[in-house]
Amino acid sequence: MFRASGRAGREEYQERLSLQRDEGKFAQGKIGLLQYVTVGVFLFLVGGYWNLQIRNEDVYSLKAERNRIKSFPIPAARGKILDRDGRVIVDNHSSFSVLLSRENLQEEHLAPIAEGLNLDYEELVARLNRFRKRPKYQALILKQELTPAEIAFVESHRDPDTFPELELIHTERRVYPGNGFAAHMLGYVGEISESELNQPEFVKNQPGDLVGKTGLERQYNDILTGEDGQRQVLVNNKGEERRVLGFKAAVPGESIQLTIDLDLQTVAELAMEGKRGAVVALDPRNGEVLALTSRPSYDLSKLASRDRGAEWREITTNPEKPLLNRAIQAQLAPGSTFKPFVALSALESGEVDENTSFGCGGGFNFFGRYFHCHKKSGHGGTSLKKALAQSCDVYFYQVGNRIGIDQIAKWAEIAGFGKKTGIDLPAEASGTLPSTKWKIRALRERWYGGDTISVSIGQGYLTATPIQLAHGMGGLVMGGVWHTPHLRKGDAPQKAARKAEIDLTHVRTIMDGVCDVVNGGGTAGRSRLPNGEFCGKTGTAQIASNEYQKAKGIRLKDNAWFVAFAPRVNPEIVVSVLWEEGEHGPDAALIARDVVKAYLDKRARKQYSQGAGEGVQVKLEQPAGLSSGERTAEND
């Protein structure tokens, strides 16, 4: 056949052969490609397997575990804050909080969640951004103290099909007294800030933790803070709980007992209602703070929540500065309440004695400038006691001029002016105690005689806080023993008292003069108590000089001060009152009077109950301390 076909047949044969070869090559190519693809896929799978099982085994196993196991924190209750009699000032109560599980978070859910929980969306996003650095399994507390309506919202939307990132937890929330009661002293808790995280005192904390922000909540944060618990649950692929795997109960924080007497604190709060200022009551025998209030105040409950935005803005922009704890931070001229300390300086210097007298004609000319007395008609011939009782400015101008600023500063410093008292509250101010050195150091100026005249009546460069004034007067009436003011009662270590060698007759002279302020026809006769046990010194301090006010065409109301002690013999309580723009010191005395009355009445109740218990009518206590008469005689 081949032969028969000839040349054409041969060509056809060769063509067929060539075609068969091409088909064979193509088939081989296909098989080769398939082999390569298979090998490639295999290598890809092996690579993925390597990545999953060997290279990042820890990461993926952890992720898988977290998908299966969910952890919920159980916040520990903070310790309570009690008064000296064990009455509860700051409590806890049961409430609900909502957590945001960032593992399950879908960004598009944030807006409706914020809407449903009445949260500010922008603020929520900002908070989430602050949390970015934390592991995702750590949930964010979205809102605390949920209302029944908010609980209903969370419960009805936290199903796997709606907002699975929401989780409801039961917590213990802080209950603070209402009406801003003792707000500055107690302080509040809040979410730790970025700046606080860098501070040594919060080294144990993590972002999102609730910590004491101010006041005692901050001061004793470590004691009050408990240890959070945790609940681990097994969840299915829908996020539904199937089994509890682990449970660690929360350990509540320790309670602290204060030296505060709620009865006195309450009266101080009521007496300062509607005013701007502060009241501090101390036991001069040991430095225990019996009452400490500052007004205007703010609602602690509103600031103690994580979503305090609106309230915070309102408070921080309030021109009356309600956040300022005036009891320890208001640095203002103490006015005539400083005169007892000038008198102490004068007596201790030996330049002046009890009988030293100066004439007051309503003012006096010093260094070419006329300094007025508050009584334009003048006090006439004035002794030290009378000068104290009637607050004669001219007398103290003369005294100051005679002894000089450094003598005043020496004894004022001993009494605690110009430095922090050391009270166990954060951010105490030190005030300003001027001296020749101080002026050169602080103002780069030399001291002028006229400066001394102003300081000798508690004005000029001198500033003090209400607690300094109470502390100073406390040490003075104790005969030169200044105990550090403190708020925590019990076994807490206290700083040792400062003692100074003071002639007790000088102290007696000053105390008598101060008692005459109230009981001897002095400037605060209106606040006299029937038993004559209430003593104190008024102060009416200018905020700015007359020249400044004239130049500015303004009339600024004076600050009213009063520093008191009681009883007259063996004082047990010292009270200082600052009433900003109260205008008249005697009006501030009325506030102190009511606080002292509350103390004396309570003391009488105690004595009566003790006496009744022992079958005795009344058993008077014999507290240690300095009396104005008997004690000195005994000690002498």
Binding site: A149, I151, P160, D161
Partner: protein, 352 residues
């Protein structure tokens, strides 16, 4: 021989009896009669049995025919009853839709989720009808559930008895706000009611509007159990929506809050007998958009009154009272307060 002998004997008997019948005949008759009787009996019985069988055969077929007719009539009857019930439900639903201010759309239940314990149903309305995920599903008798998935022509509804379901509720008797939660059975737990609060069996809980899914004022359930619990009161309610079966439902496209029916304090009668108030003139009718993106629903307030207090708060109030009794304004001069004065007893309230 024997035969002959027998013949002779028989002949003797015949002679003695003096009968005029031949002996052979007697023998024949005697021998044949029983057999004839048997045969006649067999014949008669066979003919009767065949006749009866024939008749029975006809009765059975007639019975079958009658049974078929009865079944048909029953079916027709059932159908007509269903039609009547449907018409009644439609009438009730139409009346409900007319007086309910919320914008709703009717839907029919077309299926249930797989599994005996499934608390999910499917309805024949979907996204093309405006149904969206999170919308409330109700009937005139109460709430049914909420839409969890919306498809073009159908939607999945999780019912209120599902364990994942919860909604805000309020008692129209005591105005207690709480959260009703599905339990997987035919009861709902009403949670977060303080043990000190009063809830009575027979009381009805309505939607509170707090959840921003259901508009306020729709019946949820009647209290079956109310007893003190460990942390909160244990209150269980029976849902009212399932009392009359569940075939047609309404999907709330745009909810409007309504007033709660008033509880008759005089008679103690429940509110279920009374119709919901018409939307006109209802003071607190507030539109509530369908979840999950509510915009205007107001957050409801709690009825629990003042919050927790401390000893400091109580003492402050006592001293305020003391000041008022003695005419003292603290820190303002005038009368000196006497903190040891006995407390003035409050006057007893006058009896009517």
């Amino acid at each position: 021989m024997i035969v002959l002998l027998a013949q002779l004997v028989l002949l003797a008997v015949q002679v003695k009896n003096n009968q005029d019948v031949r002996l052979i005949r007697v023998w024949a008759v005697t021998a044949i009669t029983p057999l004839a009787r048997v045969l006649e009996g067999v014949r008669a019985n066979t003919i009767g049995l065949a006749g009866e069988y024939w008749e029975l055969w006809n009765v059975r077929s007639v019975n079958k025919q009658l049974q078929a007719e009865l079944d048909k009539t029953k079916l027709e009857n059932h159908y007509l009853r269903e039609e009547l019930a449907t018409a009644k439900r439609a009438e009730a639903m139409a009346a409900f839709v007319q007086r309910n201010p919320s914008k709703t759309i009717g839907a029919r239940i077309i299926g249930a989720g797989a599994g005996a314990s499934s608390k999910v149903v499917f309805i024949d309305r979907g996204s093309t009808s405006g149904v969206m995920r999170g919308m409330a599903v109700i009937t005139p008798d109460g709430i049914v559930g909420k839409v969890t998935s919306a498809y073009p022509t159908g939607s999945m509804v999780v019912m209120i008895t599902d364990p994942t379901f919860a909604c805000g509720v309020i008692s129209n008797k005591t105005r207690i706000h709480a959260t009703a939660k599905g339990q997987g059975n035919n009861q709902l737990l009403v949670d977060y009611i303080q043990n000190e609060q009063t809830v009575e069996v027979g009381e009805v809980f309505y939607t509170s509007g707090d959840d921003r899914i259901f508009p306020k004022g729709l019946p949820v359930g009647t209290v079956r159990v109310a007893k003190p619990g460990k942390l909160f009161k244990e209150v269980y309610i029976a849902p009212t929506a399932f009392d009359k079966g569940l075939e047609e439902v309404l999907v709330v496209l745009e909810g409007v809050h309504q007033q709660l029916p008033e509880w008759n304090l005089q008679t103690g009668e429940g509110p279920m007998a009374k119709p919901l108030p018409p939307p006109e003139g209802s003071g607190d009718a507030v539109p509530v958009p369908a979840s999950p993106t509510p915009a205007t629903a107001p957050a409801s307030t709690s009825s629990e009154g003042v919050g927790p207090t401390t000893d400091a708060d109580r003492l402050l109030n006592r001293y305020k009272e003391l000041g008022a009794e003695q005419g003292v304004t603290f820190g303002a001069g005038g009368k000196i307060p006497n903190f040891n004065a006995p407390k003035t007893p409050k006057p007893a309230p006058e009896k009517n």
